[in-house]
Amino acid sequence: MTDLPDTLLNGIPRPIRLPLLPALTSLVIVLFAWNPVPRLTNIMCSIDSAPALKSITIDNPGWSRLLSSGSSWVDVDRWLSRIAKHAEVAGGFPLTLRRWPEGKSVWEGFLPEFRESGGIIKVDHGGW
């Protein structure tokens, strides 16, 4: 059977694999809709090794209020947990959720694999 590209099968681009990013210290993800689109998830997950990475921020400038459990967050959670496991940051790898809704119940239990891997979530409500 011919190996068709993913794009033809389901419209989702095949994940890429980036080489080592030796100098990368900071990653900021800006989301204007609640769920990360597959393209964004693919690019994030393609970052396989970034040994100098010190922090990740997920910014929500669109002030999205809806919390839905999409599979894209599961993929992001898995990737974040991998980053947290390999990071050499004392006290746990920090993930900042900037401009996220206030109220613990909204984000409690969010990104469970990342938390189990020693990741630390900081929520910056930034005006909520």
Binding site: L21, A23, V28, A33, I43, S46
Partner: protein, 230 residues
């Protein structure tokens, strides 16, 4: 007034609100240069008539007002009746480091003037939003700036269709400090990839078709990465 140390005068002027700077420049001779340097650090034009007036009124001497300008902002001059005007004003600003253009035409002959070294050597930062020009003119301008460190290009939707230019990388340029590409910049992204642009900081719209190539090119130098998802 003469007994006040110049450092104290400079410090006062540093803290004066911008609208008062021109009044400040009239207080005394010793107040003039510092006040004018701050007042004319950034100039903005929103019509060709304003640019014409500046060129006619402001002497282009090497240590006068035009030499104080470091940041030139031009907006909504979609096309130039007199295409040489942009070159003339850029050529008159000897300390120019930053060029911001919003919905403004870039005449085809501008890159040639920069290539010939007539001006633009000091420009380190370029911000282009909704540029009105061909892809070839835009990339030629970017390439012609020898000391460019920060580049931001946004919303190139109005660029005319044209066959993709062919590029040859004539010299290896060092990494930019910052490269930002947002909305409708597929063709710019493709051109910068072919020209092997790298950067220490990348801010990218994840919708850019060849984002992978841009990331791969900068993988060695990349310190900060910002991914924006619409």
């Amino acid at each position: 007034m003469d007994s006040i140390p110049q450092e104290l005068i400079d410090s006062i002027i540093d803290n004066v609100p911008e609208p008062s700077l021109l009044s400040c420049s009239l207080v005394a001779k010793r107040w003039r240069q510092k006040s004018q340097r701050r007042a004319f650090d950034t100039i903005s034009f929103f019509s060709e008539a304003e640019v014409n007036r500046w060129c006619a009124d402001i002497p282009q001497d090497s240590d006068g007002i035009s030499s104080y300008v470091r940041h030139l902002k031009i907006g909504v001059i979609f096309s130039w009746d007199e295409p040489t005007l942009l070159s003339r004003i850029m050529g008159s600003l000897s300390s120019l480091t930053t060029l911001s253009m919003y919905a403004t035409g870039i005449p085809d002959e501008l890159p040639g003037h920069i290539w010939r070294g007539e001006f633009g050597k000091g420009i380190t930062t370029v911000h282009l939003r909704l540029p009105h020009c061909t892809l070839l003119t835009l990339t030629s301008m970017i390439l012609s700036l020898p000391n460019l460190k920060e580049l931001c290009v946004e919303r190139c939707r109005d660029m005319p269709e044209e066959p993709p230019p062919t590029y040859s990388v004539t010299h290896q340029r060092g990494p930019l400090n910052s490269l930002k590409l947002f909305e409708g910049v597929d063709r710019i992204g493709e051109a910068l990839t072919k020209l092997q642009f790298t950067s220490r900081r990348l801010s990218l719209d994840v919708g850019i078709t060849n984002i992978e190539q841009l990331l791969l090119l900068s993988s060695e130098t990349l310190v900060e990465l910002k991914l924006c998802s619409a």
